[in-house]
């Protein structure tokens, strides 16, 4: 049975003509094959998003962020920043709530990044309304923990679709290049869930240093203990230094970066990593709702920032601070904004990686 193919009575031909003749003799069956293959192909195009869709996607989001003239090779959001290194010294107080190795008593090295909001890598430090602290911890079991914390404690909106509308209202009109401040006022009016954010925004006073801001996880996560019990939490990096709100009017464009370098030349910059525990009735999947201040807070440990370096060629340059890179013992909440952040960061990372590969430099 397993004989090799041998010449048979059928004349062999390499001509396409015979093949075409075959098609003509069996049109219906060929059409059937064509329909099956086309259906699969169209299904794939549909899944890939090449077909028009009204759905919000990571690509649409990043396209809005970068506008018509992206700064190639830079992050699409929080483009300007500096790399930092240091270690986290755990108090051990959170170990009973999460099996993550980082919460055991002891220290974990990290690297990270201070940055300001916006897509412009040369924007003046003190003009940005948002500052950020991103950290990447490397545990010895190989599971990383990455976080990207910001100065606002809450989001203005609770869904990615609304977040897109919020950004569209903030950004200049893509056609005219003109920013209309009325648009964002109207947006907040149309979104009552933004009340807590707007209140924070109106009361927030920037300090003259990265070292004296409070940085928030914003979205909630779950701590998971060894028995699998879950506790919803948010966390903050709370500065140990005393804030100074006097900002010199003639401060240089790199004021915050220079300040950080100077502080570090004198010693470590310290933050407490404070976890807030949600109660039963608190909104876990809704980043617009702050939890009452009297909720239980536990200081997981202290962040010692010991070194800083320029982001160009720095240790943080090649890292995507995706908040969904979590060790076992920490899980994401159901907050849809959290998925959106992860997906949009990945798309931003892919774009700047491609630009860097093709020679665009930071």
């Amino acid at each position: 049975m397993n004989k090799k193919p041998t010449k048979s009575n059928h004349p062999k031909s390499n001509h396409l003509g015979d093949f075409i003749a075959l098609i003509k003799n069996d049109r219906k069956r060929f059409a059937l094959i064509g329909i099956i293959i086309s259906a699969l192909g169209i299904g794939f195009l549909f899944a890939s998003g090449l077909t028009p869709t009204s759905k919000m996607t990571a690509q649409k989001f990043v396209a809005l962020q970068e506008g018509s003239a992206p700064h190639e090779g830079f992050r699409r959001a929080h483009a300007k920043g500096i790399c930092i290194t240091g270690e986290f010294v755990s108090s051990g107080l959170l170990a009973q709530y999460s099996k993550a190795a980082i919460f055991q008593e002891g220290s974990t090295p990290f690297y990270g990044r201070f940055s300001i909001g916006g897509g412009n890598p040369t924007a003046p430090d003190l003009k940005s309304p948002v500052r950020s602290l991103a950290l990447a911890f490397s545990q010895n079991n190989g599971r990383q923990w990455r976080m990207a914390m910001n100065t606002p404690p809450v989001m203005a909106v609770r869904t990615p679709e609304d977040f897109y509308e919020q950004l569209a209202a903030i950004f200049p009109d893509p056609e005219t290049g003109i920013r209309d401040p009325q648009k964002i006022v109207d947006f907040f009016k149309a979104h009552p869930e933004s009340a807590a954010f707007v209140e924070w925004k109106n009361n927030y006073k920037p300090t003259n240093s990265f070292s004296t801001e409070i940085y928030n996880s914003i979205n909630a996560f779950y701590l998971v203990d060894a028995q699998g019990a879950k506790q919803a939490v948010r966390w903050q990096a709370v500065p140990q230094a005393v804030p100074n709100y006097n900002i010199a009017p003639d401060a240089p464009s790199d004021a915050l970066q220079k300040d950080m370098a100077e502080l570090l030349s004198k010693g470590a910059v310290k933050f407490d990593l404070v976890f807030q525990f949600a109660a039963e009735e608190d909104a876990v999947a809704d980043a617009t709702q702050p939890w009452p201040d009297e909720r239980r807070k536990i200081t997981a440990g202290t962040i010692f920032i010991q070194g800083a370096q320029a982001q160009k060629g720095g240790i943080c340059a090649d890292t995507n601070f995706d908040p969904l890179v979590l060790p076992s013992g920490i899980e994401p909440s159901e907050d849809p904004i959290l998925r959106a952040r992860s997906a949009a960061y990945a798309e931003s990372y892919r774009r700047r990686a491609r630009e860097t590969l093709l020679g665009a430099g930071q």
Partner: protein, 176 residues
């Protein structure tokens, strides 16, 4: 009717073929949709994608070894040369894609500084240092290969149906 008369691939080969076919097609559809989605399932999809990708990488190794252990059923003797050649070329490219997809996926995760967790059971070691250029190269290769792979699979399915419906030979039956 002629099913019984067809010389079949060994059961191991048929099993590997169909199990991998289901996983790979699911992975391709999942892959292209999850990279744009903001849906809550996106994160779960990512970890499943990585886990099943590792499984495919292991299975393709098993399959290649298995492939050396048997002689596949011969092609029909009256098959035109160009079709036999196209078939062989497609199979070589399909195997290449089956290896290139998980390998580029593993490489891009490593270059992003991330270990791949396999069904939460164990982590794959990093096979490259964290490097954004290497990430981009492997990321784009992963995406591009996905499209070529899907095209090859369509060609493969079209050819199988052509054998069954037009030529009415035993080629498809040998894999059923």
């Amino acid at each position: 009717m002629n099913k019984s008369s067809a010389v079949k691939y060994p059961i191991t080969a048929r099993l590997l073929h169909w199990v991998m076919a289901v996983i790979i097609l699911s992975m391709l559809f999942l892959g292209v949709s999850m990279i744009q989605s903001f849906a809550p399932w996106q994160n779960v999809a990512l970890s499943l994608h990585k886990s099943f990708g590792t499984l495919v990488f292991i299975l393709v190794g098993v399959r290649l070894i298995n492939r050396l252990l048997f002689k596949p059923p011969a092609l029909p003797s009256d098959l035109p040369h160009w079709q036999a050649f196209a078939g062989r070329a497609t199979h070589v490219l399909l195997y290449t894609a089956m290896i290139a997809m998980p390998l580029s996926g593993w490489l891009m995760q490593s270059a992003a500084g991330l270990e791949v967790s396999v069904f939460g059971l164990f982590n794959l070691p990093l096979i490259a240092p964290e490097n954004i250029k290497l990430y981009s190269l492997s990321r784009e290769l992963h995406g591009l290969t996905a499209w070529l792979f899907f095209g090859l699979i369509l060609l493969h399915i079209a050819a199988a149906l052509y054998h069954k419906l037009i030529r009415r030979d035993d080629v498809l039956d040998s894999m059923l």
